[in-house]
Amino acid sequence: MSDVLTVPRSRRTIELFLLLLALAVAVGANYLAGIGREEPFGDYFWSQAITLGIMSLFIHVILRVKAKYADPVILPIVVALNGVGLAMIHRLDLSAAQVNPDFVQVAPQQVLWTAVAMGSAAILLIVLRDHRILRRFTYISLIVSAILLLLPLTPLGLEINGARIWISVGFGTFQPGEIAKITLAIFFAGYLSTNRDLILLAGKKIGPLQLPRFRDLAPMAAAWLVSIGVLIFQRDLGSSILFFGLFMVMIYVATSRVSWVLIGLAMIGVGVFVALELFSHVALRFDSWINAFAPEVYDRAPGGSAQVVQGLFGLANGGLIGTGLGAGRPDLVTYANSDMIIAALGEELGLIGVVAIVMLYVLLVSRGIRAALGTKDGFGKLLACGLSFTIALQCFVVIGGITRLIPLTGLTTPFMSAGGSSLLANWLIVALILLISETARRPAPSAPMKDSFPEALGVSGKPKKSAKETTR
């Protein structure tokens, strides 16, 4: 694919056009969400519109100056997703405030986090001129990931709803695991791009499968231990799946060996089996997935299926075109603004709206993979692949869980769920993918080939005898 010959165009103007369209979607959603429930054009309307508008135009300007050839559709897609998420969180706030006047609104804080996340992405774009610099931090990122993953287990950590994945920072809570997925992706990309050839060449061949050497399995064992550790000590099935899936994809992309995938699946099979036997919460999750509609499972106090079934009722209520923003009852679902936000959107925008949102995610991920195909360095390829895949896997786990395709696990919907750490991490991922796509699309800085052919070549049919002399 990287041999597509196109004229290098910066395409920032089309980005601006799409960005304005995305802002229209974001602000429009916010306006509709508040219609009939509050004064139109209230404080929140303006804070959402101004924050998104200013910050996204700021990033657009930075891209014009610093990364002229970055992919033009990534920024608009993400702004639209973030804006629709903010609108839905605000809409759920309004419902909650009608029931309970003392309810502390979530949306204003989420707007603040959006500003922080977009600002951090902008800073990353300015500071990090080239993603290849990150390769120097391969092993440092491993250590940072370990620290981030261990932080919730220290006294700083907080346990919320049985999962110990938060830490308390001065002004609120933070989920270090969200940042850890970036640092782990950097480590895997750095490690695999360095040791790829070794892993590829060594090892016994049995039938069509080339088995890896035992020592090359070490990083895979590390990834497996991390996932199992997260599952056991932090009781977070979603992150556990995410980390292991990330590693599996990156090693498959690096080596294109099916044996790795088989070994990985076998290891995860063992992990799932052990988890089912040992931990009641995993077993309950499975039970409330398979027997979701059984009354005793629905009513069970911890680990019941009420949440997912309410979400399904909401989706059914929405139907094809949805009830319209602000006209449904998505607030009946617990955690409608974080884990279940897709169910809320499905109820109010209907299948047509949710498919549009899924399409936006698909486009975003495909642009990430496209950047990976286009860039020339192995590290960048692996990093872009891994980071886009984390977004794809999160969407699959969340939307699959809500539609009862797979058991529901607590992962955030990228850019939409209420929660600052997830938003911050995903915006940083976007900044990294933008940088990688810039190196992928930027025309080569060297002089074009045709100017640098040696004169002695005799391009225009000079007598060749003299040329023969020169070789002696």
Partner: protein
């Protein structure tokens, strides 16, 4: 809410769904250039303004020249060997899988590669120990080979002939 107000709200809600899909479809539209793989697409031809800004974008028509059809070894142990050139790349080296197996102590196993691109043949060194020389200059990257220009690998010299 009044009748007319409700109608407006309903229209606005439908309008939002349409707007969402306009965003999706215009994003896809912006990407259609990328959907063409492996060949130069029409959308990619530079405009006059782009040529003015980046003069290196101008494509010169390739100069008329005789295409190479044969490879001839002119020096070294295999002197006199000829090989007909087809459309497939040619591996030069001591390895048994090479297209032209060089019995030359100064050649590497997989020494160099000749490959066609467009109407020309290019030579590329495959990380050999002693290097590949095109018209006396050591190769650092793939370069086009014109018929009659000597390529030296160890003690062997080969030429393309029309």
């Amino acid at each position: 809410m009044s009748e007319a107000g409700e109608l407006t709200v309903t229209l606005l809600r439908f309008g939002f769904l349409i707007l969402l899909w306009i965003l999706v479809l215009s994003t896809v539209g912006a990407l259609r250039r990328d959907l063409v793989v492996g060949r130069r697409n029409k959308v990619g031809t530079p405009t006059a303004r782009e040529i003015r800004k980046n003069p290196e974008l101008v494509e010169e028509p390739p100069p008329a020249r005789a295409a190479a059809h044969r490879l001839v070894v002119t020096e070294g142990p295999l002197t006199g060997t000829t090989l007909d050139l087809a459309a497939s790349p040619i591996l030069l080296g001591r390895a048994q899988e090479a297209t032209l197996v060089l019995e030359d102590d100064y050649a590497s196993g997989r020494h160099a590669r000749l490959f066609p691109q467009g109407s020309r043949w290019f030579i590329e060194d495959l990380g050999s120990t002693n290097g590949t020389y095109l018209a006396g200059a050591q190769l650092t990257r793939a370069l086009p080979v014109e018929p009659g220009v000597p390529i030296r690998i160890g003690k062997t010299v080969i030429e393309l002939r029309p």
